[in-house]
Symmetry: C2
Subunit: 203 residues, 2 copies
């Protein structure tokens, strides 16, 4: 479709850095498996984390091939024909062999995951306990086999439809955050901190 | 994590019906492949469509196993420890053998895809041409092997952290649409129709 194609590594990193949730796929006994999960980009790798027993992490952690896809939806493309209706989006797919992250980087990456999810919160929370670190696995996939696809701009209609009386255009989509909701068991007197109030409107 | 688990078929259908974009995975020469794509639910199947030459559609159309995952993000769960930070979400995974949709249902499903993407627009656009129909493949996967996962509500912190001075709670996320942008080559005098102006704020 229109405007799509492969982009360079900087473009791929920019799309990865603008999102927090990916879908990760792996092969189990010859069958496809897929799961949505948090991720982060660091250097030339995509990092995933989770329960050490989780199938995704066991498969990728043992060096198997994984495939990670990230997409952000930017708008609905309304064309004069059904055939040319589409969506505007930024997406990246990374394919690579997983690798378990060693003890030297493990805790640092877990802290970075907190920062990616809630910037500023990583400075507030206590350190992870030994038990928490042991329960969690971190794997990474190199970004060297990766591609980006982007569709942007108005619909591209067939020449013969341009005189149509049907409306055409784009309905932009955005993600927004609403006011934070304090936990019901929050200790009395704790105010919503600035880094929560200023949470970026993207996701 | 908290509140997650398997849900019944009606719950699975409700999550599928509340979204338009999935990630679909398949296996190519033993390797995982994944791609974001539009989908719709109809009866007990998930339908995908696209260019007849696309690898996903060729694989699923020849009866191979596919895996479809849908997730909507509802909020960022901010816990008193990094370990318990998470996201609130609704998600569904469907695994099943693909099947090419026959000529009897092909055009009807393509029309339904327009309705799913832009409700009301399917009544305005011209019929698909023979060439457009031939260029497009529709495949479906049965929903009988499917599961839903939902996380909702406040963070569930460790007992020992409940007296912490760190703020905890949820930052709700929503998707919204902005004002529609008419195509630059739109015929003069065409107003934005009500069904575009009233486009639901979900995605």
């Amino acid at each position: 479709m229109a405007d799509r194609g492969a982009y360079d590594l900087e473009q791929i990193k920019a799309i990865l850095d603008a999102n927090q949730v990916c879908h990760a796929a792996y092969v189990k006994d010859g069958e496809p498996r897929i799961i949505p999960t948090l991720y982060m980009r660091r250097g030339e790798h995509v990092y995933l984390h989770g329960n050490r027993q989780a199938a995704l992490l066991r498969h990728l952690g043992s060096g198997e091939l994984g495939c990670v896809s990230v997409v952000s939806l930017d708008g609905v493309v309304v064309a004069r024909s059904g055939f040319h209706c589409s969506m505007n989006y930024h997406s990246v797919v990374v394919i690579g062999r997983g690798e378990l992250v060693g003890a030297d980087e493990h805790e640092e990456v877990l802290d970075a995951f907190v920062r990616i999810l809630v910037p500023g919160h990583e400075k507030q929370v206590r350190s992870a306990t030994r038990q928490e670190l042991n329960a969690t696995a971190v794997v990474r996939i190199p970004i060297d086999e990766a591609s980006a696809k982007i569709r942007s701009g108005p619909p591209i209609d067939a020449e013969g439809d341009l005189n149509s009386d049907v409306w055409a255009g784009v309905i932009p989509l955005i993600s927004q955050v609403l006011d934070p909701i304090s936990a019901p068991d929050l200790k009395a007197g704790i105010e919503v901190p600035d880094y929560i109030r200023d949470y970026p409107g993207r996701h």
